[in-house]
Amino acid sequence: MILDWLLDGMVALLILAAALWTLAAPTPFAAVIGFVGFGLLASLAWVRLAAVDVALTEAAVGAGATGVILLQSAVRLRRGAAEVAAATPGRATTLLAGLLAGGLGLGLALAVLALPATVPGPAAEAAARSAEVGLGNLVAAVLMAYRGLDTLLESIVLVFAVLAVWAMGPDRHWGGIPGPRFARQRDGPLALLARWLPPVGIVIGIHIAWVGADAPGGKFQGGTVLAAMWVLAWGAGLVRPPSVADRRVRLVLVAGPLGFLLAGLLGAVLDGSFLAWPAALGKPLLLLVEAAMTLSVAAALALLVVGPPERRA
């Protein structure tokens, strides 16, 4: 009991330290490094909270993908210190903000402590009826079946975010290659990594997505690993991102959500309600949609990391 309490305490303190460093770091680059550390420690906390799926997602998306994007931006947004100094509020405002935020945090802490000990949640019913859906991993069951609409909307938000990021680019670059250009690495550590890691990564990614049905894993986590491998290859100059106007990329992006939507309509026809998994087709349809979603998530995350088009085709 004491060991648990000690471990949790230590993890919590480390996370708090990383968060404080992220705020107080002198340069943006250092802050981002702190943030990536915070993300990894947070995934440790999720394991302690018996949420391994979330730990995977936090590590992959929360710390990994977000970390890459922020690192990229930290490198490109180096200047402007004078403007930042001018815009930083005075001591009084900072103190007041600290006080108010602290007060809110205190209120929140009291509210968390005042939460009722036992609450009749839907979890028991979720566990009991997971057999109907055929998914052992309850979190996957909630994501794909019970709250299917959430996941559908969320995957559409991802696709939409890609289009929104692309639309940030200037008109003249539309149809061009997104993201900065990386010189092709002949040899050196990055070339080595970019040649050895992706095959292993792809196998692991697919494994995570596949095993998600019955054990911690799933499409978002698997998709992120696949995206990471592609970004590594792109970073090493081994592969060129597709043109923004390329129909195939858009099809891959849209395959997941559209597949989920069609399966939902199929469920409405066969099983009487939209987004129901028809008993007849059951498992194979679910796996097909899961695979399509993994591909779409991988493509979306990779393209979000790459960013808006910055040069003609």
Partner: protein, 500 residues
């Protein structure tokens, strides 16, 4: 709890149509996107009418359980009076704005696809989908996802033109909206911790007035107020809405703000226990009153027309908050009047503000600038747009026989009936100030163009007719008999059925 009702499939169509449309439009590219968008938004109007008719016929909210899973485990799509009315309003405004934008955002013949054209039509469909999800959602977390998608769609529409000055104001909008969303999410976490479900119909009547519930309500209200640009938190709205292209700012001011308002109603009228709600409602109404007075006063002094209209949005949002203390006041008569008044204000403001922004856009293109002091000649160049601006102004001022008048009359009588006369004074003061800045613009456009200014070029009648149509709808809302707005009362906790 409640199974899927007969007309429930309509809700799925209302949600799936625009969303699937966006995915297809994104794949099919420029020109196909435009045709698909126009087709789907047209169908959207049909679906909106069908949903409202179904709700009216059944006299009770329509429910659909996706996947057959009943809450608290699954999600529910709910179309009660409020949702149906707002769905219909948004469908009409969206279709009108789509027609308005055809000329400006068509793919030029020589190119296969341009950024602005594809983006405009996809974002329009995404906006339609997210608005439908925000109105029809029954689960507070599902509403969070819909709200996020709505913010992204609105943001992308706003910086479509990519003007340099626009990126800073849009970034302010995104960051402030994100703070709002996260506070809202924090509220849902506490609510789930307290009750084990997030379906607002399950929560209605079962919430206790304890610490977590009240903090959750405070966080969610503040988050939604930030997304609605309620007075002290309006820093992002004027530059974001003024800098956006006319079609985008019409949607931003008219519709996007209303989605957060409907969520606010869900929290305050359904989820919150009545006693604390009644105590805190005057605080929100006071901020609303401040929004009306300061917003109108600052609008009166604006140098640019689009900023003037944007500040008018900040002011008119205040009216929506005035209805809270009246609806929660307990007296059934006052509550139903105020409820109808508030929602009629939301509806007529949606049409009027959309018409006003479209008209302002046309005036700016005709004159080449939008300085309020030099609007001379606009009356001759784009007469219908100026007339649309005037009609919309009348509706915002609350001059009979417009929808705005009926809304403000209902709020006025319920405020006086309940003895809270100070809200009545604010409503009248707001009307006067609104009259001030509407007159300032109209008088400017009627005047003769200054000698040296370049001849304002007359614009085609198509887009002007759209703006005029929207303004006429806003005025026509005032002519409809009060009994016909019974739709809005359906599904309101404590409603006495249709208005007497």
């Amino acid at each position: 709890m409640t199974a899927t009702t007969p007309a429930g499939w309509l809700l799925v169509v209302a949600l799936v149509l625009p969303v699937a449309g966006m995915l297809l439009a994104f794949v099919l590219g420029g020109r196909a996107a435009e045709r698909l968008a126009l087709l789907l938004l047209g169908l959207g109007v049909g679906v909106g009418v069908a949903v409202s008719a179904a709700v009216l016929r059944m006299g009770a909210p329509i429910v659909y359980l996706p996947g057959g899973w009943a809450p608290p485990l699954g999600l529910a799509l709910v179309a009660d009076g409020v949702a149906a009315a707002m769905l219909l309003t948004t469908a009409l405004v969206l279709f009108a704005v789509a027609l308005f934008g055809r000329a400006a955002h068509a793919t030029p013949p020589d190119q296969a696809e341009t950024r602005a054209a594809l983006a405009y039509w996809c974002f329009l469909l995404a906006l339609a989908g997210s608005l439908a999800a925000a109105f029809l959602g029954g689960d507070l977390f599902n509403l969070f996802v819909a709200l996020e998608m709505l913010t992204f769609a609105a943001l992308s529409l706003a910086c479509l033109e990519g003007k340099p000055s626009q990126f800073r104001s849009e970034l302010r909008y995104l960051l402030f909206a994100l703070i709002g969303s996260v506070l809202y999410l924090l509220g849902t976490a506490l609510l789930y911790g307290g009750y084990g479900t997030l379906d607002f119909r399950l929560l209605a009547g079962r919430t206790r007035a304890d610490l977590p519930t009240l903090l959750a309500a405070a966080l969610m209200t503040a988050g939604l107020a930030a997304k609605m640009a309620l007075f002290p938190l309006h820093l992002w709205l004027p530059p974001a809405h003024a800098g956006a292209p006319p079609a985008a700012s019409a949607l931003l001011s008219g519709l996007v703000v209303k989605a957060a308002f409907v969520l606010l109603l869900r929290v305050w009228i359904w989820v919150l226990p009545p006693l604390p709600a009644m105590a805190a409602a005057p605080l929100l109404a006071a901020l609303g009153a401040a929004a009306i007075l300061v917003g109108s006063l600052v609008a009166l002094r604006q140098a640019r027309l689009k900023l003037l209209v944007a500040y008018s949005t900040v002011a008119q949002i205040g009216y929506l908050f005035l209805m809270l203390p009246l609806v929660l006041s307990g007296a059934a008569e006052t509550a139903s009047h105020a409820w109808l008044g508030g929602l009629l204000q939301a509806g007529s403001h949606a049409f009027a503000k959309a018409a006003m922004f479209l008209a302002a856009g046309l005036i700016a293109t005709a004159l080449g600038h939008d300085r309020v002091t030099a609007l001379g000649g606009a009356g001759q160049a784009v007469p219908r747009a100026v007339f649309a601006f005037g009609l919309a102004g009348l509706s915002l001022m609350g001059i009979p026989p417009s929808g705005g008048f009926t809304a403000k009359w209902l709020l006025l009588t319920s405020a006086l009936g309940d003895g809270q006369w100070w809200w009545a004074a604010v409503i009248l003061g707001g009307g006067l100030l609104t009259g001030g800045y509407v007159y300032r613009v109209l008088a400017g456009t009627i005047a003769a163009p200054p000698g040296d200014a370049p001849r304002p070029r007359p614009l085609p009648h198509g887009p002007q007719n759209v703006a005029l149509g929207l303004a006429l709808i806003s005025v026509a809302l005032g002519l409809l008999p009060l009994a016909s707005f019974g739709l809005v009362q359906i599904g309101r906790p404590g409603a006495l059925g249709a208005l007497p």
